[in-house]
Subunit: 304 residues, 2 copies
């Protein structure tokens, strides 16, 4: 036996439940790194390509769970997680379940309770940037520290940066939903910008360099805005909320004039107007962070 | 006279109308670069700091215009521009007016018509990133090419990168509103993410590095999405609209559970649902670019 084979055989076996695009990427990374990888999916054919790379196909979720001490579940949503783990609850007992399915902090807490009641060791996790198997992957975990430490080296086979955020099972999901809130909002903003540009005869590619510049500007602003939010001081000397509102109004006007829906920015505008009506017109845009409470009084919106 | 003085005296005089934060930055950059700079603002005291740096204070907009062949106007909105240039229309005749006030493409066209009817040479302009006087400044211009070339070296005193986008006066504003659409949407997304994080006990600063990572991810995705949009091909093999909708639903659920307003992302969700209802669920998120038409049928939204 060569040293390389020894290393491979020493690698902990792992089971992956759910073989959508993300589950397949997870199983593929474990296989690439020499783990004996057992896979299961409701539609069995999703495993074909992985089996060709020497993954073991299990006939049922329970059979898949029985094959490894470490079980990863990554499916569409937490309802699907619950359905699968209920089927395999007996086999999961005494094993570690790492739930990488996107969900809310409340759902993470509920799953941790479910696991504790059934003698299942549980880590909640979140895949923030989905470049599994590459240095760009970014994963969060929360739950018992010793459990994370026990499986850390196996999880490292997924590539990228892994952070344990503490014992509260909800923590990984809390980071995840916050960061994905930013992701989907910004990505939607870019596509809406392309729709607006297209309506003016500007091709998507002609906007690429400047759109990347704008996003780079937002990236540079993040620590500045974070400082203001943490200190609850919002100096508006450079640019204030009144000028932000005027700027946003111009874009909404242009959007409507182009026959496009201005829903996203109109919703942003509501928060800006709330801040101005609350007497913060001279403050910076960061003040808007305090204006998302759904219990806020509805602002009478001037037509725009 | 030393060569340096000669250079300074050779620099074209310039007039700046409007001394809000941006107007003051513009006048300051011209002064720093040795232009004889005449300034005017409705509230005269806004000029005090610039006068201390040797700017010339004009008593009226018309007097300010008469002092220079190149006149920059940068005020809150195009209504304010119109009020000011109407006052100074006679003096503006035969001079060049560069309108750096934020506005819509339609407003740019209207101002170009106004100027043409009065014998005023007109360039519309847009300040996309407001770091005037630094290499990070980004300015667009549209209107007659020869006019831009004639004043190019003077405008370069504002720093950064300047691009002439063609003869259609509306072009600079079209780029500007598209890019600012992205900016305000992304910036709002970040502040909403901070509000959501705060509701989960996560401090703004703890999210900084990962929030910057997410924004960096969007920046890297921009050319990929632009390619899909230009080719009207939206391969969803890596991640499709159905999983995007599920992800967005999780965030909206978490937002509502935290007692926060989910307006921005709910508006984004409408566009995603439109795409799925139109049969594009297996496509990538970039397909959403086609779903912002306000004439689209309203989608019956399942409660989320």
């Amino acid at each position: 036996m060569t040293p390389q084979q020894a290393t491979r055989d020493d690698r902990a076996p792992v089971t992956v439940l759910g073989l959508g695009p993300m589950g397949r990427a997870l199983a593929g990374a474990f296989l690439t790194n020499g783990h004996r990888t057992t896979v299961w999916n409701r539609t069995a054919s999703k495993a074909d390509a992985l089996v060709a790379k020497s993954a073991i196909r299990a006939a049922t979720a329970a059979e898949a769970v029985a094959a490894s001490d470490l079980v990863i579940v990554c499916v569409l949503d937490q309802d699907a997680v619950r359905t699968i783990v209920e089927q395999a609850a007996e086999s999961l007992k005494g094993r570690t379940l790492v739930n990488l399915t996107t969900g809310t902090p409340e759902q993470a807490r509920a799953m941790a309770t479910w696991a504790a009641e059934r003698g299942v060791d549980y880590l909640d996790g979140a895949i923030v940037t989905p470049a599994i198997g590459t240095p760009a992957a970014r994963l969060f975990y929360s739950g018992p520290e010793d459990l994370y430490e026990a499986h850390r080296s196996t999880l490292a086979s997924l590539g990228g940066t892994h952070t344990h955020l503490g014992t509260d099972a909800a923590r990984a999901a809390a980071y995840d939903v916050s960061l994905l809130d930013l992701f989907w909002t910004a990505a939607t903003g870019y596509l809406h910008a392309l729709a607006l540009a297209d309506a003016q005869g500007i091709a998507a590619k002609d906007l690429t360099v400047d759109a990347q510049g704008i996003v780079g500007l937002v990236r540079d602003l993040i620590p500045v805005l974070a400082d203001q939010v943490e200190s609850r001081r919002y100096p508006g000397d450079g640019s204030n909320l009144v000028s932000a509102a005027a700027g946003i109004d111009h874009i909404i006007d242009a959007t409507k004039a182009s026959g496009l829906d201005a829903g996203v920015l109109s919703a942003a505008r509501v928060a800006v107007l709330r801040a101005i009506e609350a007497g913060h017109g001279d403050d910076s845009f960061a003040r808007v962070v305090e204006m998302f409470g759904s219990a806020q009084e509805t602002v009478s919106m001037p037509s725009s």
